[in-house]
Symmetry: D2
Amino acid sequence: MVSFESDYICGAHPEVLRRLTETNLEPMPGYGADAWCEAAKEKIRKACELESAEVEFLVGGTQANAVIISTMLADYEGVIAAKTGHISAHEAGAIEFTGHEVLELPQENGKIRAEDLAGYLADYEADENHEHMTRPGMVYLSYPTEYGTLYTKAELEAVSGVCREYGISLFIDGARLGYGLMSPAADLTLAEMARLCDVFYIGGTKVGALCGEAAVFTRGGRPKHFLTSVKRRGALLAKGRLLGVQFDALFTDDLYFRISRHAIDMAERMKDIFRRAGLTFALESPTNQQFILLDHEEMKKLAGKVRFSFWEKADENRSVVRFATSWSTTEEDLAALEAALSGREN
Amino acid sequence: MVSFESDYICGAHPEVLRRLTETNLEPMPGYGADAWCEAAKEKIRKACELESAEVEFLVGGTQANAVIISTMLADYEGVIAAKTGHISAHEAGAIEFTGHEVLELPQENGKIRAEDLAGYLADYEADENHEHMTRPGMVYLSYPTEYGTLYTKAELEAVSGVCREYGISLFIDGARLGYGLMSPAADLTLAEMARLCDVFYIGGTKVGALCGEAAVFTRGGRPKHFLTSVKRRGALLAKGRLLGVQFDALFTDDLYFRISRHAIDMAERMKDIFRRAGLTFALESPTNQQFILLDHEEMKKLAGKVRFSFWEKADENRSVVRFATSWSTTEEDLAALEAALSGREN
Amino acid sequence: MVSFESDYICGAHPEVLRRLTETNLEPMPGYGADAWCEAAKEKIRKACELESAEVEFLVGGTQANAVIISTMLADYEGVIAAKTGHISAHEAGAIEFTGHEVLELPQENGKIRAEDLAGYLADYEADENHEHMTRPGMVYLSYPTEYGTLYTKAELEAVSGVCREYGISLFIDGARLGYGLMSPAADLTLAEMARLCDVFYIGGTKVGALCGEAAVFTRGGRPKHFLTSVKRRGALLAKGRLLGVQFDALFTDDLYFRISRHAIDMAERMKDIFRRAGLTFALESPTNQQFILLDHEEMKKLAGKVRFSFWEKADENRSVVRFATSWSTTEEDLAALEAALSGREN
Amino acid sequence: MVSFESDYICGAHPEVLRRLTETNLEPMPGYGADAWCEAAKEKIRKACELESAEVEFLVGGTQANAVIISTMLADYEGVIAAKTGHISAHEAGAIEFTGHEVLELPQENGKIRAEDLAGYLADYEADENHEHMTRPGMVYLSYPTEYGTLYTKAELEAVSGVCREYGISLFIDGARLGYGLMSPAADLTLAEMARLCDVFYIGGTKVGALCGEAAVFTRGGRPKHFLTSVKRRGALLAKGRLLGVQFDALFTDDLYFRISRHAIDMAERMKDIFRRAGLTFALESPTNQQFILLDHEEMKKLAGKVRFSFWEKADENRSVVRFATSWSTTEEDLAALEAALSGREN
């Protein structure tokens, strides 16, 4: 059955797999000390137009979030995030497992607003008892968000400005970064984004790799003895090459961006199919994840023809479901989707 | 200056101190293995009308919350609490320090509602991805709440019923328990409350003791090797007698309840003073903590005459401040307060 | 330069990579819910002759150790290990990061002795203050050990017997399991080993996979809601297929054992080369890791010709270095080693 | 029955209790912001001859150890301690609960040696794989040790010198500090000790207080936002006055030192009693804890007449038991002990 269940339904982009195959029997040192990791880091620094950035590879998104947040926060600090942020809602308490609190802000379509953030921080500072409260030490946001939406450049600048005013760091979860930057709705570049935050990661798992996320510390903020901290969190890969080779492939000849763009093109066409089929969008998403409202009967019926994923309950009768395109989405997939939907009213 | 800053501004109730003095040079074994701890536990079991209850002493409220919650939850579980719950807002992330997430529910005047709880749990169960989320394993509520309000017996029965339906435990933070149970607005007894929950604690620090909280496991749920778990959290007092003697005193001849009642009487009279002075109550509290709205100028002026505490910002111009009575509040204190307020309009 | 630096210097065994390539574009559900994971688990259960075993995949060795140990221990428990055990010495405190203590036992050539274990447990039980000590809840050992040595079946039975007598679990770190079981010195089978412990893992990273360890809970002891616990430790792979496909390949037609045997054959021949070159073995290892004593000058000279790894200081003048064979070691590698060594005296 | 079970068998020194009683009804702010805490801190700074020292009060010894160590260490660091150190052996994994490893050194009569420490640190630095190991960030030692022994000034200078050479901090657990400094065997003063370390604490629980330990950061190293970190560890006392008043009393007119000296005098006389009774000392202790070897029959018999505590198994037939004097030991206690022992041979 055709699947739009997620953007990680397939293995690696063929070009990535080809590179893994080519380098497979080259002996290399472990733990990321190999030449491919070095080469990939250099390509990423170039892509970010930040020669001084520090790049580190991690295996998955939740792991990257937990490692980055817990090594950058001080003991007494927590991280601010949207109530719908991945770290707030869908990581089973991975941040709390490291001993830190997630301080939730209200959100709209997955985005926090600079004014809410500023208000939160001002209230914290003004509270005479704030030493009895978790100190906010970082802001976490996702680009694109968990609802596929994008911060505009102005919005991100505003959030970044508040962070710098209060001396706290800004961390951008880029698990689907390519699908954000390649959206026609995006009004900022990778280099611009890098300059607005203190750390972000470039998602590989959802954009062409078998696994892997590239954390970029943009302003010299990589925690000291980072390898030791990664190791003790069980996040250090013996065959670090697996990450280095993949990211080297992804950042050769703009592969990462080309395949991201493909997913966006497919998403745009998928949206047309949904519109033609008269489906109701739960919200307007300009990226690869599309959220549709279905009543329970429709949902059940459609689930027999195409794979998608349950997102959340909308009301008594309806749920939000998600359809995701990715680098691996094909013309045939879209055709099968259209066929499944066309039979919808019959 | 007269102080209503908190309900822990004085030392111990004189009777408690007398008992500490009397027993001071009796040699006793450490770590709570002394006869006074045993006697106090027995008196507490009697007061709860629960001969099978397990009673354990801890030093302070945040510590009691963290120890109880973290030893009763499974690794993958979090605790549900009101967004304004003490563990959510004012313990600097003490629960998260133990690795567990606080799952926040909306509240009204500090109270959660059984229907919100049921909705949360039903949504969790229905969510197809819930294995990627923190599993709710316990409900935390405060009696009285952080806003001085009280759950009615019916409300507590409803919350308890939802917990039992879903097989999760109910924990009542009784840091100010006496001030709740002795309020004329209270419609339930200690014994009734004990039967509705799985664990609660009887606050000593705020009700007559120098320090100390008595945790009561009502239904055989004391975690195994509890002493070891208490020890490794740095919460085991070498001179456990300090807690045993004090609780023995507090539960002799109903001292705990008599002094709680005194604080409530004082609070009722304080409310009259506030009403006469034309102050605005932020909310209706039937217990020893009273919350008043003051604009910043009034606040500053009053702060020169009487001690109270800042609670939270209400709006641009006004703050909520707290006045607390306690077992130690005197007629003279109230007279001084009235005098301070009577000069208010001059 | 030819490398014996570790047993993870190359990518995946070609057959494993072939299977990843073949299945690369099959759409599958995430997080290990795919059919390849299921098939691999079934093959592993068969290989263990334990149809009721529960199998779970994790990404790396330190991660597997930390996840398994911390989810199986109770709050107040620690894990007993040899002072030289990987979790004691070379995981940067990964077990402590989860809040648990590693209780160290003396060792000989990497192995603990059943009598030392029994003595430790008897002393713990007899100590009147043992509630103030970490309770031993599990024994950890490595097969083969960090020094390449093997427990005999009798030794393992003895350790297992002590564990069962004291009601604590036995966990075997099998990061290099194949290289142990396929050694001519091994006198027990996978199925026999599985029956002697409560949980172990079959190392993939060092035996033919890009990454991946298969945890086997042999006696129904998989912790409840294990997926949630794995997720919150950042150890859940979105593309669980990466592990499922690789282990399916490794457990098809005994590939895992055949390539392990190859590494052992290569190690035996490497030992002959060392003997012919007059090198001094630091200890007798019957598996794929060989430990050689070199003085600092020899070490430096040899390091210019062949890659190996520093292990530990032996005395003022000498160090122990490690040479490892693996599934990827070739005839050419051995020839290059011999050439490098033959020029040793010149 | 007369008790030498520990040095915390009685309540507070009468003078300390008198001061608690006198100040009992003074209203004060909470959480250590009261004037008595300030006064006590000033007196402690004076006693240490370190006007710039930062003093913070904590409730108990294990708590003080865990709070100080875990707030001063970086994420990737562990603490070095003697294998017999309190944090290694008798705190139920309290350091590990905070996520940090205790790195054990060999010891003699409870003391580590500077050369062993230097060797450990040199080996760590020289190990090419040390980024995979817990980084040593602090040295912990007890003065007096868990066996009642004392470091000489020269020994402490040597340890301190190694710490400063390697840039790691030195922490002295002074749970029984008075009993060390007042021993005739002590060759250093409080002020000298303070200068040799980065942080230490002055034990109150075992030296005249109901509870309380005064942590002294001697060289500006108090962790930032320390109150928040203390709070989130459940270690912040609402009635901080309880600690401030007691330490103010203890550091008024040298009470702390006078009562410590009394305990030492009593211990010297107790040693004479033991010698006269022909008992065997397990080791030579110049402080208030005395360790005696008894065979199991003697132990049982004596336990019927006087309270002492089991320390550890010595061999198949004998145990080490501990007799402790304290500020509360009386002439009558010693007479009762002598009587109990004199009947020993009958």
